[in-house]
Every structure is written in C-alpha cells, then in structure tokens.
C-alpha cells in the first residue's frame, strides 16, 4: 500500500475521493460560495463540486479575504472533507482553522503524484492511497 508523508496544519482525518487541481485557487471571486465550486471558466476544475471531496491543489492565491470564503463554504455545507496542498498558506490555514476543515500539506512528496489517484485516506501523519 502506497503512503505519502504529510504535515498536519489543521488537525483531523478524512477519507474519500480526490478532486485534483494542478492550478492554484483564488477563493475570493474565483469560487462560487453558494454552489461550492471554482467559478473561473479557464480553471481546470471549473464547476466541479468540492462537497464530500478531498480537495488537492498547490496553494491559494489572491485576496486575503479568501479565508472568509472557505468559512462560508463550510457554513453552506459545500466545503470539501479535507484539503491537501503542496504548501499551505495563511489564507487556507486560517480559513480551515475556524471552519474545522482538516488541512495537510506535503513535506517531501509532490501533489502531482495524486493526479491519477481516485481515493485516499489521510490522518495526522500520512496519506494512504486507497484506489488507483
């Protein structure tokens, strides 16, 4: 069974299907808060719902208010189960901390290793690849 070492930023564990994006996400005005998906037409996960997914993307970009967008997604019931970043940042970490969304980033692996993976299980120490 393949495992990848992770760093836990906001504690928690989760299991589920991956929604993978190799592009960063701008949460303010780049995500539809009511619908729970990326709203930028040029983005590779445009319109794909976050809900129930383990959302994998490199990092956030753009407005500092993006942290509130993560909180609003959670309150709307449209947030992902967990987030895995290449390198988490202030926007994601603070937004996930108040929304109690488990957040991880990769210490030595690359998120591109998760591109072809459909299901994972993740906890404080490691990410286990469940289905290929």
């Amino acid at each position: 069974m393949n495992e990848i070492r992770v760093r836990s930023i906001v504690e928690g564990k989760a299991a589920g299907e991956i929604l993978f994006s190799s592009q960063p996400i701008a949460f303010l005005q780049g995500v539809d808060v009511e619908g729970g998906f990326v709203s930028d037409k040029k983005h590779e996960i445009y319109l794909k719902p976050f809900e129930d997914k383990i959302l994998v993307f490199p990092n956030a970009v753009g407005s500092s208010v993006g942290a509130y967008v993560i909180y609003r997604l959670k309150k709307n019931g449209k947030a992902p189960r967990a987030i895995i970043n290449q390198k988490a940042d202030m926007i994601i970490a603070s937004g996930c901390a108040i929304s109690e969304i488990p957040l991880f980033d990769l210490v030595d692996g690359k998120i591109s290793e998760l591109r072809e993976i459909s299901k994972v299980r993740v906890d404080e120490k490691k990410l286990v690849l469940v289905e290929y």
Binding site: I9, G30, V61, G62, S64, V65, Y68, M90, S94
Partner: protein
C-alpha cells in the same frame, strides 16, 4: 511552536471564546513556516469588511467574536474599506438591506476598537513606524508595500489571521518576519523593446500582475528604475497581490536565481487579459484608494475640464478631509466627479448600480475585480489618457 503558559491558557479557553479561536488560528498558521514562537507586533491591518465579500456567515462570525466576553484589539488596528460611503450611502442609492448589514459589520469592528478610518492605504493614512518594525497586515497590496517600500516586516496575513493577530497582539515568527527569508526566490527582468522608458502606475501595475502570477515567493526585479513614485509603488504592490501569493519585492535584484523575462509579448498578453473594451461608460479612480499626492495630481491634471460621463473617485474619509483642506476635493468635484469615502471600488454595490456595461480605469487590481464582481468590461488606460479621452 512554543507557547507561554499564558498563551496555553488562552488556547484552552480561559480568556474567552474570541481569544481561544484566535490562538487556534495562530497555532495553525504557525505550522506553515515552522514558527518556533509568537512575537509581539505594533500594528495590525485587518481585511474582510465589505458585506459583499464576507456575507452573512462572515457577519455572524464577527458578531460572535465581538460579543465574546473581554474581546478587544490588543494593538493599534486599522481596517480595510467597506462596501459603501458610510455618511452618504442613501444619496448614492445603496440598497437599504445591504447598508444595514454593512453597518452591523462596522459595529463589530468598532466594538473591538478599530482605528477610525476605512482604508486600504493605511501607510498613507497613519504615521508609519521605523523600518524593521514587526506588523501584521492583511490586504495584500498594503502588505507588499509595507515589506518592499517601507521596510516593515509583515507576513501576507489573511483576513482571519490578521483578526487573530489583533485579538492577541501577536503573530507567528516565520517567513517574511525573519530577515534571512527576505530575499528573491525568482527574478523578473524587464526587457521591453517598445517601452524603453518604463514608468507610470499603469505600466508598473501590468508588470506586478505578471510577476505576482509567476513568482510565489519574494520577487526580484531587474532593469527597472530604482526610485519609484508613490503611485507607481502602490500600483505595483496592488497588482502583485491581485492574483499572486508573493508578499514582497526587491528592486535591482542581484540574487542568482531563476530569471524570467518580461518582454513586449508578456506585456501585451497581460494587458489583453485585463482590458477588453476600447473605452468605458464610466470612469473609476482609486483602487487602491487615492492618496493625498494622487488627489493633488488628479486635481492639477483636470483643472478647468469637465467629465463627459460619470466619474467616481474612491478615498478614505481621512484623506478626503485632508484633500478638502488643500482644495483638491473642491476642484475634483467641480469637474463633475463624485467622491465615495471609506469604500472599496471593487466590493461596493455602487458599481453594479451604475448600470453600465463597461468601466475605464487606471488600476490593474480594479480591472481584475470590477470585471469579476460587477460583470463589466474594462478599459485599462493610464490616467492622462483617461483624462484626455473622457473630459472636455
């Protein structure tokens, strides 16, 4: 991260819910840069003030924080613009239900002890401490400006992490708070054939937008002039923040790191990404909000002319008063322009209520957000061209 006994107690909830939430946020953000400790800061700048951006859930969260027993901003705390002119929203036809929500948000920040102005250019509004001072600024444009131009030390805080800093008077000791980290990770070399004299706030805005998207860490510029005007530095900082994650730039980078060329092609591509329209049905100035110097320059440039279309100028109420004292407000208003105080051009319902299909502006950040938020096409031009084409 090491926490003192007092900090541990606050984290466990002994000092109320607001501080407990704040320390939870600091513990999470501390892990990002493997911070070893929290450090005191002298100034916090908080974003997340317009009802258009934080919504009902954001308001609920702020009410929970501000109603929590003993919750107060522990250090000097300034806040970002809101979504309307607080004094004059009725005359500007802001919907009442929106205005009520906006006033509730403002009440939360007032209760916590905010400084009395809504501005995204706090560094031009209040006295700036000496270089090397540790602060915690959200509002990406201000954070980039503070690090790069003023020599302050700030991480690029988020709206929520800055709120946590204000409630505790502390931030995490990591990233740009640590002097060793304040060096370029990539260089952007300006290499244009068409524009040998690279100057003006629009050109620097376009450069910043490109650089912000290319470089996630500290940006090292090469072959740009060494002394930027206030307007150029402000436009560059704001554009870097718009779609990037960098918190700082250095002019004249000598760092031997990967170097990306900014040629005529990159300039044109970035420009055509941002600007779709030949001209706009309304003119918008002040993203980020106008400084006193910019109001002076605008007032001089439009002397004796009149706008042929609606023109809106955004600045803080404090800057409005200062400019009024100097006579700039009167001369700008007599040209037919309307002032909107304390609001953000990008996140006010005002622009949508103008019912125009296009807006002309000199701001790269404004171009990006006004298009996204209000669905208008943008004509991006430099200030003097806007004046020439839209005034008589």
């Amino acid at each position: 991260m090491y926490l003192t006994n007092a900090e541990e107690k606050a984290l466990s909830g002994e000092r109320g819910e607001a501080e407990q939430i704040a320390y939870r946020v600091l513990v999470a953000t501390g892990k990002l840069g493997d911070a070893q400790k929290l450090i005191p800061i002298e100034w916090v700048h908080v974003s997340g003030v317009s009802f258009l951006t934080i919504g009902q859930y954001g308001l609920d969260f702020l009410e929970k924080i501000s109603n929590s027993k003993g919750a107060k901003f522990k250090v000097f705390t300034t806040v970002n613009p809101c979504g309307m002119d607080i004094e004059n929203w009725k005359a500007l036809e802001i919907p009442t239900d929106y205005a009520e929500k906006q006033l509730q948000i403002i009440e939360c920040y007032k209760k916590l002890g905010m400084a009395n102005s809504f501005t995204c250019v706090p560094f031009e509004t209040y006295k700036v401490p000496p270089a090397g001072t540790c602060v915690a600024w959200a509002e990406s444009s201000a954070a980039v400006f503070g690090n790069s131009i003023l020599g302050l030390r700030t991480n690029r805080e988020s709206a929520i992490s800055a709120l946590a800093c204000a409630l505790t008077g502390k931030t995490v000791y990591s990233d740009l708070q640590i002097p060793l980290n304040r060096k370029p990770s990539k260089n952007i070399r300006v290499n244009l054939k068409k524009k040998m004299d690279f100057s003006g706030s629009l050109n620097f805005g376009v450069l910043g937008f490109f650089a912000g998207k290319e470089v996630p860490g500290v940006i090292g510029f090469q072959r740009v002039k060494q002394k930027l005007s206030l307007a150029e530095a402000k436009a560059l900082s704001a554009a870097i923040g718009t779609l990037g994650s960098s918190g700082m730039f250095i002019l004249d980078s000598k760092e031997k790191v990967e170097t990306i060329d900014f040629t005529d092609r990159e300039f044109e591509e970035t420009m055509s990404d941002l600007s779709q329209s030949e001209n706009g049905e309304a003119v918008v100035f002040g993203c980020p909000q106008m400084t006193l110097e910019e109001l002076r320059d605008l007032s001089n440039a439009i002397q004796g002319k009149h706008f042929r279309k609606k023109c809106i100028v955004f600045c803080s109420s404090m800057m409005f008063e200062r400019a009024s004292h100097e006579g700039y407000v009167q001369s700008i208003e007599s040209s037919g322009a309307t002032f909107v105080r304390d609001a953000c051009a990008d996140f006010t319902p005002l622009i949508s209520s103008l019912k125009v299909g296009s807006v002309v502006t000199d701001s790269v950040k404004g171009a990006h957000y006004m298009r996204k938020v209000h669905g208008v096409d943008i004509s991006l031009k430099d200030t003097s061209t806007i004046i020439r084409e839209n005034m008589e």
